[in-house]
């Protein structure tokens, strides 16, 4: 279970509070969606969960399976099963995608005390997952994300997620920049990863992604805190009414 209690975060370099007491519980086996307008703090929450520098936690706590997430370095979090699918995946020049995947998988396996995959096992696993996401062999040879289209980058995030096998998946605006076909492929990839051992937090601005990745709970975030929570029908309501009510309240 992911448990976020009264989380307060400000930018490290300025006196600007972004998260104003976020409280949220995502049990294993569930998919939760966070929706909210731009500037509501959604992406900050995602980054803080993954451990990006530049933020200062001024109060509250985050635990995953009872362990203090905020005390861990980003790579330790990954080893504990935390995975962030980036809104803007980073280009890594000179590092072939396959090399990157292999290095990452071996690193988390080592930390988890599991056996590293043999080369054939690794290749088989990557190729299978890549094929189901429509990622070509040629792309796997290229430097990670360099020159990839927006859709290719997002599919690559899901491929990494599938290969690394995390237990807490945070997807930050995975739908942004995707056309309808790419969204279908990406959503199918995510849906395939749903399991009773895995919690998912899907952050999105628009309701449309939730037609494909059906959430168990929907939370509305505005002004740096959760304003309202409900079932999947809440997403449809928001689609009609917009966020105005919440931005005023915040």
């Amino acid at each position: 279970m992911l448990e976020i209690k009264n989380l307060q975060v400000k930018l490290a370099e300025e006196d600007k509070t972004i998260l104003n007491g976020v409280t949220l519980r995502v049990p294993k086996g569930e998919v939760h969606a966070i929706m909210g307008p731009n500037g509501s703090g959604k992406s900050t929450l995602a980054y803080v969960l993954a451990g990006r520098e530049g933020y200062e936690v001024t109060g509250g706590s985050v635990t995953w399976n009872g362990e203090d997430v905020l005390a861990m370095a980003p790579d330790e979090r990954a080893a504990k099963g935390v995975f962030l699918a980036f809104q803007y995946p980073i280009e890594i020049p000179g590092v072939a995608t396959m090399t990157f995947l292999r290095t990452a998988l071996n690193a988390v396996k080592r930390k988890r005390g599991e056996k590293e995959l043999t080369t054939p096992e690794f290749l088989r696993r990557v190729r299978e997952e890549a094929a189901s996401l429509g990622i070509s062999e040629e792309i796997l040879k290229r430097p990670l994300n360099v020159g990839f289209s927006g859709g290719e980058k997002k599919r690559m995030e899901i491929l990494q997620m599938a290969v690394l096998g995390p237990t807490l998946c945070v997807l930050d605006e995975t739908d942004s920049g995707l056309d309808i076909d790419a969204m279908r492929i990406v959503s199918a990839g995510v849906t395939k990863l749903k399991s009773k051992d895995r919690a998912m937090l899907v952050i999105t601005h628009y309701q449309r992604l939730l037609n494909y990745i059906v959430p168990d709970r929907v939370h509305v975030m505005a002004g740096g805190r959760i304003q309202k929570s409900g079932g999947k029908e809440l997403a449809l309501e928001l689609e009609k009414s917009g966020y105005a009510e919440f931005t005023k309240a915040a």
Binding site: A73, D75, F83, E91, P93, A107, V108
Partner: protein
């Protein structure tokens, strides 16, 4: 009016040292005269300093505090095993070797005798013969360059490789020219090579400048003249691992005939002071130049790469890509001059120099200089100096990669683009292994 600066201690010593050893330097009367003229030219020029534009960032008057005595006479005894240890990953390369120990040819360590279509002669022997058969530019254009470092090379050169590749010959194995610093005493070591490829010849020649464990300080001055006839193709790689107590002044003078291809790669690491100057003159149309390299600096190392590419004729192409990784207080310098002469239409020049700064005290000075006098040309240049990207580091760590491993992967990725320019797989792997080993020594 120019006022002559007072001679530095090193400048005075260089002239004095020349007088002391001149009689023991190889060559007949004509060579001796050329040497005298050269030391005279040097005396007038002095060591290059920061007020000379080409030496703005590498002031030899400051850097060379003293002149070491020239290495002449019998060199130290060296074994193949010692050389292999100094060569590192390059030792395993299947190549014909020509070895020079402290500036003198060591035939017992060499393995390039009796090759078909390739002639190799030690420079000392060539200089002792008739002047017109040395094949060096000693008496012609090479001597004409107003360069103090070139003049010093002419004055003091003791030996080197004079290599000729016959018309359309394509030797199967690379030629590995090994220059070893061996003796325990500090020495000035001066070598000159002459590489001539006849029309349509194709070869790979690698220069390795290394230092044995326990070798004394070195001031190396090495010059390689490269002449490619029409349609010749030379891959010329150079690795300089001269040691913490070494300065290395390297000059390459390259002239390219029509449709010739000159490919070059320079790897420099673990050398206190390095200046590699490459002059390239296009003499025939449709020739191609591709020069790239990698420099890795730590401590107070100083690595200067200077290129002067002269598009004197139309339709030639030049490509330059240099990458550096600088730690501690290391300083990298890149000067890329490209001249496109009037009438040299359809010239195509591209230049890129990038440094990765691992320390806030490291410095990278990059100076592109494009002098374009023709109107139908494509010329571009770029330069960057940056630290390891924090976003990339975070992204990799978010995927579970520990920081040291992420850093290593990013640096390898950065230099990989340069190493990928090496076409020959065995050479590329050897250079990559050397670079990787040296990178591990750079502190963050």
């Amino acid at each position: 009016m120019t006022v002559a600066a007072p001679k530095t201690k090193a400048e005075q010593a260089l002239t004095r040292n020349f007088e002391a050893v001149a009689a023991r330097l190889p060559g007949g009367r004509a060579v001796a005269d050329a040497r005298k003229a050269a030391i005279g030219a040097f005396a007038a020029l002095g060591l290059p300093h920061r007020r000379i534009e080409e030496w703005k960032y590498t002031d030899l008057r400051v850097a060379l505090k003293e002149a070491l005595p020239p290495a002449v006479g019998a060199p130290a005894q060296v074994t193949v095993a010692e050389i292999d240890a100094a060569l590192g990953a390059l030792a395993g390369l299947d190549a014909h070797r020509v070895v020079f120990v402290d500036g003198l040819h060591a035939p017992q360590l060499s393995s390039a005798a009796g090759l078909d279509e390739v002639t190799i002669q030690p420079l000392a022997a060539a200089l002792a013969g008739p002047a017109d058969r040395t094949g060096t530019g000693l008496f012609g254009e090479g001597a004409a360059r107003q360069e103090a470092v070139v003049a010093l090379n002419t004055a003091f050169m003791t030996d080197g490789a004079v290599v000729g590749i016959d018309e359309r010959a394509k030797p199967a194995k690379p030629l590995l020219l090994i220059f070893v610093r061996a003796g325990a005493e500090g020495r000035l070591v001066t070598t000159r090579n002459v590489l001539k490829l006849a029309a349509g010849a194709r070869a790979t020649i690698i220069e390795a400048h290394v230092s044995l464990a326990g070798a004394g300080p070195a001031q190396a001055n090495t010059l390689t003249e490269v002449t490619l006839a029409d349609g010749a193709h030379l891959a010329h790689a150079k690795v300089t691992l001269a040691g913490e107590a070494a300065s290395h002044l390297g000059t390459a003078m390259v002239t390219l005939g029509a449709e010739a291809i000159y490919w070059s790669f320079q790897l420099t690491a673990g050398t206190q002071l390095t200046r590699n100057t490459t002059f390239v003159d296009f003499r025939g149309e449709d020739a191609k130049l591709d020069v790239s390299g990698l420099f890795l600096g730590r401590g107070s190392e100083h690595i200067d790469t200077t290129l002067v590419v002269d598009h004197a004729v139309p339709a030639c192409e030049s490509r330059e890509l240099f990458k550096g990784v600088l730690a501690d207080r290391a300083r990298g310098v890149f000067q890329g001059k490209v001249i496109v002469r009037p009438g040299a239409q359809k010239s195509d020049g591209k230049q890129m120099a990038q440094a990765l700064m691992l320390s806030p005290d490291a410095e990278f000075d990059s100076k592109p200089e494009l002098e374009i006098y023709a109107d139908d040309v494509v010329c571009g240049h770029g330069s960057t100096a940056a630290e390891l990207d924090e976003d990339m580091m975070f992204y990799m760590r978010a995927r579970g990669i520990p920081p040291e491993e992420a850093r290593e992967l990013l640096i390898e990725g950065f230099i990989g683009e340069a190493l990928d320019k090496i076409e020959d797989e065995a050479v590329r792997e050897a250079f990559a292994a050397i670079a990787k080993g040296r990178l591990a020594q750079l502190s963050g």
